[in-house]
């Protein structure tokens, strides 16, 4: 048996467009998922029980069902409610909600890891809960957030492959198309695997460098501070 990779070269445009679709959907749904996770985490950390209950139910609901089922619920449920959206959008929304539950747990853990006295000191000088969270707690969670967020984001990049089932033309879907036309599944899926590997390992490598920069900043706190500022720009409204 011999591998014939010419079928890949003949169909490179399909793979390229699949790669592009995966990148766009993954990036947007991870970013949206993280933003959505912030209010969920705030609710989960609230001292009001009903807010904690809502956040807990939300997280439990999404975390205890497979993503493919979540996807089908959105895919068939949204038109049922009269909302017709393009498949990549529906897939992206479903993934954003799914990711938000994991990210919210990551954020909650990072906030809890900041000593309680930090927020208390903010309250003592008259800051409200939210101002104290923003000024004092949030910047300190950055270093704690990075490693678990990277893990979650990589899982979510891989979950985008499930969108192929609702005909989103991402890497796996294009792979299936090429496989159907060429009957060369081994070549096709090795290529698909290589493309996923390329994305996730590049992402992991990039995040690792950010982590190192944040870690090194423990010695020279200045760098960590500017990183914290970056995080604030990304994650929440910057007040200045």
């Amino acid at each position: 048996m011999t591998l014939d990779f010419s079928v890949i070269l003949d169909n490179w445009q399909l793979f390229a467009s699949g790669l592009w679709m995966t990148l766009v959907v993954a990036l947007l749904s991870i970013a949206a998922g993280f933003l959505l996770a912030i209010p969920v985490a705030i609710m989960a950390l609230s001292h009001r029980r009903w807010l904690r209950t809502i956040a807990g139910a939300y997280v439990e609901w999404f975390r205890n069902i497979p993503f493919i089922v979540v996807l089908y619920i959105f895919f068939y449920g949204l038109p049922f409610m009269g909302l017709r959206l393009p498949e990549p959008v529906v897939g992206g929304i479903a993934l954003a909600f799914y990711a938000s539950t994991y990210f919210s747990e990551v954020i909650r853990g990072a906030v809890l890891a900041v000593p309680k006295g930090q927020l208390e000191a903010a309250r003592a000088v008259g800051m409200s809960y939210f101002m104290g969270m923003r000024e004092v707690v949030a910047p300190q969670t950055l270093r704690l957030l990075l490693p678990p967020s990277t893990n979650t984001a990589i899982s979510m990049i891989k979950e985008t492959s499930v969108l192929s089932t609702i005909t989103v033309a991402e890497i796996t879907y294009q792979g299936l198309v090429v496989q159907g036309a060429t009957f060369a599944p081994f070549e096709v899926f090795l290529t698909t695997a290589a493309l996923y590997w390329l994305i996730t390992s590049a992402f992991a490598h990039g995040m690792h460098r950010v982590e190192r920069a944040a870690g090194a900043a423990q010695g020279s706190q200045q760098a960590r501070h500017s990183l914290a500022d970056k995080y604030l720009q990304l994650g929440m409204r910057r007040n200045k």
């Binding site: 000593p115 006295g117 930090q118 208390e120 000191a121 903010a122 309250r123 003592a124 000088v125 008259g126 800051m127 409200s128 101002m131 000024e135 004092v136 910047p139 300190q140 706190q221 960590r224 501070h225 914290a228």
Partner: protein, 268 residues
Amino acid sequence: MTRPLLKVSNLAKSFGTMTALRDISFEVEAGEVVCIIGPSGCGKSTLLRCINYLTFPDGGFVEVDGTHIGREPGRDGKMRMQSHKRIDQLRPMMGFVFQQFNLWPHMTVLENIARGPVKVQRRPREEVEHQARALLARFGLAGKEDAYPSALSGGQKQRVAIARALAMEPRLMLFDEPTSALDPEIVKEVLLFLRELADSGMTMVIVTHEIGFARHVADRVIFLDGGLVAEQGPARQVLGDPQNPRLREFLAQIHEVAAPADLSTPSH
């Protein structure tokens, strides 16, 4: 008739079935230094945290210079709880210095001091930084403006924490165990520093278990036991001639332990 700067009346706080504060009432005059002493677990720290509503008391009143914080009697005589926003506004009337200082590690010393006034009081940054630099200079910390808290010694951290509280221009200062997180050698330094702060006219309420410390810094001492004020009076009287049997016992026990910190004997 002058009214007290701080008036605490019938303060009560329970955690579940554990009663930390039963019924605490006392007053502090402007310029006074009051030490609150008592066995561990008697509710000293809880009391301090209830005074500035870091912990909400279950009952009772706190007044600073005639202004209620937290619970206040309405015009109809009924109690009413202030909004959280109002409590947040009033809280910095009392500067709070934490046992572990709780400096913000991601900010410079200057920023630790300036962030509160800039964000909470919305004062111009330039003016606030000028004031912060002056405080640091006064506390012997000139040149440390751009350092991060991790680079400071324990005593320096404490002074930054005090400066951070003072920058909000409080009416009085609350100290939670100011000596317990520091090396024994610098307890005297802290004592002199607090004495100096007191001499500048600052009203202070200090929770401590160091009797030697209380003896030297306090005008008045309050002994807390079982969630109640068991004895209070001038420091010399309370510590020198205790009436309450529990206080006697407490002082006898602590005397041996605290002997090295007793600053009246210069060599030990």
